[in-house]
Each structure stands twice: as C-alpha cells, then as structure tokens.
Symmetry: C2
Subunit: 171 residues, 2 copies
C-alpha cells in the first residue's frame, strides 16, 4: 500500500504532514508521496526508521497526476478519501480484494480530476473530521487489523508493551 | 464515550487539537475535555454542530486529574492511549464490555499519575505515529465500526454519498 498526499504546502501544515507520514508508516504502508514539503519531513521519517525499524519511504516532488497514473499502470486501485464519497463500510469487502492500493489523501483543495480518475471515492463518515483519522481507519480496515501486529524488523529501540509505565529496550 | 486531551497549549498545536475534537465528534464521542486552548476551537466545533448536526461538546479548563477522577466515580473505564501500553488487539474484547469510557489522549508530556490511575494503558501499535490516528482507531474498534453508520440528526447540510463528485443538500 502506498499513500499520496495532494496539494501544495501551506502555513502551519507541517505537523499534519508529519502525522500523515508516521501513520502511513506505522499502519503498514510502504511509502508516501508528498507534492511539496516545507520542513524537514523526510529526515524526520528517516530518523524514525533508524530508531524504530522498517524502510518506509517519503517521496517528494512527483506530480500527483503522474503518481496516480503510474499506480494504475502497475495495477494499483486508487482510493481517494473524501467525505463526499461512498461509505467505507459498503466498499470494504471490495477494497480488501485489491492486490495493491494507492490511497489519495486530500489537501486544502482537491482538483476535480482526482474524483474522476480514482477507482473509488471513499468516505470515513460523511462528517468533517481529519484526513489523518480517515487514513488510519482506511489502512486499518483494508488490512483487517493485521497491521497492528506487524514487526518492523531491525531497530535501535523497541518498546515492550506494559500495563503501566514505559519500557523501552535496545535491540 | 468521552475524550480528555492532556496538557497545556503549545505553539502550533491548534490544528492537532481541532482534529482531535472533530474526530471525537465524527466517531461518536459525546464530549472532549481540553485543559487549555489557544484558539477558537469551541466556536469552530459549535459551527460544525450547527451545520452538520449533533450536540458534541468541547469542555475547556477542567483539570485533568479531576476529569479522570469524576469519570471513575461515574463508572467510566479510563483508557489512556500510549505507545508504551498493551496492544489494542489484546484488550479490545474487554474494552467493548465497558459501559462508558473516558479516552485519555497524551499531549507533549504525560505526567506519571496518568499511567497509574488509568484502568488501561493501550497502544495502537508500539510505533510512534499520531494521537489523532490512535484515537480514531480506538473509537472505531470499541464501537465495532458501528459509529460509521451514526446519524447526526437535525442539521443545515447533509452529504449524499456519491461514487464521483460532491453532493450536498440542505436538510
């Protein structure tokens, strides 16, 4: 699974972008495409990989249209998250059958072609909320929750789950 | 279900706070407690209620310790989201049995008493990602996805889900 974040940078957006990257990584996507970034997001994510494992990629600067076209050419289903789309719960069985998926996450203004060239326009509720939450629930549902059990391989640090407090070990 | 966001304001945090409020509302919580807010978050959420329905509440300024103590006194289970906690998938069956829940979402620095007075410390993966995503997946799982079908009652506008494009009607 890969993720595309649409849209240009705008003021104070870098925290949201960082969340989108880290959620994509933690919930089992391989890579995220960002059209443009203001801050040091690729290096932040690189540090997270080094500390906590995995080889999640941040790919910056490729035009969205191209990313979507290439995804289709390699057999990915393109799933655009939008509050105007069809309810996730009605389409989830179909989405789970897809071999590979590109999830498209809206930015401040989504161009019309995205609605038309996506294979699915999917709503995680028809209420306004958060592209971070919508992405999380989509990734979680498409993988039937299996992503929560994923191992991140070789890492500097590893958390040992605890009922109380914090336990971090070097690994 | 109610949500408590721990911690004081800090620079550039208002977008994250807005996301937390709107996710709580869209995914079926009744209210969110914020210790302190910088911006006009309560009025933003009020406008969302007026436009899209429901009576979700933003409660500002009550000390976190008090909110947690009151929740326990009224029989709520207190569920603290932390990457150091026990895996969600191991505790979800137990959490679904709880009548009422207060979800506690960490801010920049979580005091030790939170880990100790919570009934559950729960991790949505042991990887660093986003409190918005963790909250979304917890709310979604505790309600077994039923929250996605929730109606928000009387509203000014309503979205008619579409395979392509945007359809909004006055209601």
């Amino acid at each position: 699974m890969t993720v595309l974040r649409l849209g240009q940078r705008y003021v104070r957006d870098d925290r949201t972008l960082t969340h989108l990257c880290l959620v994509s990584r933690a919930l089992g996507a391989e890579a995220i495409y960002l059209e443009e970034v203001e801050k040091d997001i690729p290096s932040t994510v690189k540090e997270v990989n080094e500390t906590w494992g995995g080889d999640f990629e941040v790919i910056v600067g490729r035009p969205s249209k191209k990313v979507m076209a290439e995804a289709k050419a390699e057999g990915r289903k393109v799933v655009h998250l939008t509050m105007y789309g069809l309810p996730l719960q009605e389409k989830i069985d179909e989405l789970r059958l897809a071999d590979k998926i590109l999830v498209v996450v809206g930015g401040p203004k989504v161009p019309g072609y995205v609605y038309h060239s996506a294979d699915y326009n999917i709503a995680v509720t028809s209420q306004p909320h958060s592209e971070i939450a919508a992405l999380a629930i989509l990734l979680h549902e498409v993988q039937s929750g299996e992503e929560l059990k994923r191992s991140f391989g070789k890492s500097k640090l590893r958390i040992v789950p605890s009922a109380r407090g914090k336990r971090v070990v070097e690994s």
